[in-house]
């Protein structure tokens, strides 16, 4: 899989006033071919879908204020606001059961159970500081209909495919949505070194050049 190239594309800050597909077309249409896969950062898709909230608009209940203490400090659910936002999306009962199961699993050395059971919001939510200004003071949820967005991008740009990705510098690379024909595991592997960079680099789009050829070569 070493025949592909990663091409970050710089944009202005995309906001809730942008249509994500048209914005991507504006910045990347002349850079992609039918061999390429276009990758877009999931938080940017979520922002254009207005899936964010100021923590001051939330009133953390006792459940959120208690459960946040059982999440490691680095996690977006470690503040009572991140926890409250996620509980409101996924339901209190689900969160309590997920946390109890997660605790029991931890005793047996199995980690990640809480995030698997608590629903997609728990895994994709970004707490305050998780997104670039001016959204650094907001809680940003994961995007809706990521597969559909990826398909729309593919159609609009005429590229091989598109993915919506959640990637960070801690070697976490998760494909949240993908168009048909794109191998999620391969795409995640290609993005593992976070070519999106940090927020201030303003490169929420990355093009995997020659993805189709590289994937076919590996398969063949």
């Amino acid at each position: 899989m070493d025949d592909y190239e990663l091409l970050p594309v710089r944009t202005r800050v995309l906001t809730h006033r942008d249509n994500i597909v048209e914005a991507i077309a504006n910045y990347a249409k002349d850079k992609v071919t039918d061999q390429d896969v276009l990758c877009i950062a999931e938080s940017v898709v979520a922002i254009t879908q207005q899936r964010y909230i100021r923590p001051q608009e939330l009133t953390p209940g006792w459940l959120a204020r208690t459960m946040c203490y059982f999440v490691p400090q680095q996690g977006s659910l470690s503040s009572c606001y991140g926890m409250q936002a996620a509980i409101e999306k996924e339901g209190a009962l689900r969160f309590v059961l997920a946390m109890l199961c997660g605790m029991v699993a931890k005793v047996f050395g199995i980690s990640g159970v809480f995030y698997k059971l608590a629903g997609p919001t728990a895994a994709l939510i970004d707490d305050v500081t998780g997104t670039m200004p001016p959204y650094d003071k907001h809680i940003v949820f994961g995007p809706l209909d990521a597969d559909v967005i990826a398909e729309e991008i593919t159609r609009r740009l005429g590229c091989y495919g598109a993915v919506v990705a959640d990637v960070n510098d801690l070697k976490r690379s998760l494909i949240v949505g993908a168009s048909p024909g794109v191998d999620r595991a391969k795409a995640a592997y290609m993005l593992i070194h976070n070519p999106f960079g940090n927020a201030s680099q303003k490169t929420p789009i990355v093009i995997i050049k020659n993805y189709a050829r590289a994937a076919a070569k590996q398969a063949g």
Partner: protein, 177 residues
């Protein structure tokens, strides 16, 4: 009945254990160390205005990481007190110098800290900053900071003063130069 009593006792014990765990964990606790600030020194001078700057260190003295969501400077110079200058006070994170005075939310691990750079611009009402500085009074101000850790958001204020000695000393140096 015995089962119900046992269940209630279990729930009560679990609640006590969770309360103790939360109390033991604690939360972040921020403080701007105004008594350790650097002197206010002039960094820009024109005929009608002067900008003073100083650094104020801050620390998270708590037991949990905390987030400084927003920090800003509130100067307090009513015209009844001194009416020869207009004041514009701003600050930014020393680790994140940027020209727009925007405080980007930042996580501060417990036991660590940083510094805020304060910029205070004094503009002479009559256009002569040298004359205005010669009679300048103490300038009180608050560093206002919005904090979140494990517990709900709290807004704190730390008080400091830009003393007239520092502004008048600057004025004397300017006059001498």
């Amino acid at each position: 009945m015995i089962f119900l009593q046992g269940l209630l006792i279990f729930i009560a014990l679990a609640a006590v254990a969770v309360s103790l765990y939360i109390k033991f964990k604690g939360d972040c606790w921020f403080e701007f160390l105004v008594d350790q600030r650097t002197p206010f020194t002039p960094v820009e001078l024109k005929d009608n205005y002067i900008v003073f700057s100083c650094q104020v260190p801050f620390i998270n003295k708590g037991t949990q990481d905390g987030t400084l969501i927003d920090v800003h400077l509130r100067t307090l110079l009513p015209h009844e007190y001194y009416d020869k200058v207009d004041v514009d006070g701003r600050l930014h994170n020393a680790d994140d110098p940027r020209g727009d005075h925007y405080w980007e939310s930042v996580i501060i691990p417990y036991g660590t800290g940083g510094a805020a750079v304060l910029n205070v611009k004094l503009t002479a009402v009559d256009g002569n900053i040298r004359a205005a500085l010669a009679e300048m009074v103490d300038l009180p101000m608050y560093i206002v900071f919005e904090v979140v850790g494990r517990r709900p958001i709290v807004v704190y204020k730390n008080y400091l003063v830009m003393p007239q000695e520092e502004t008048r000393t600057a004025a004397e140096k300017i006059q001498a130069a």
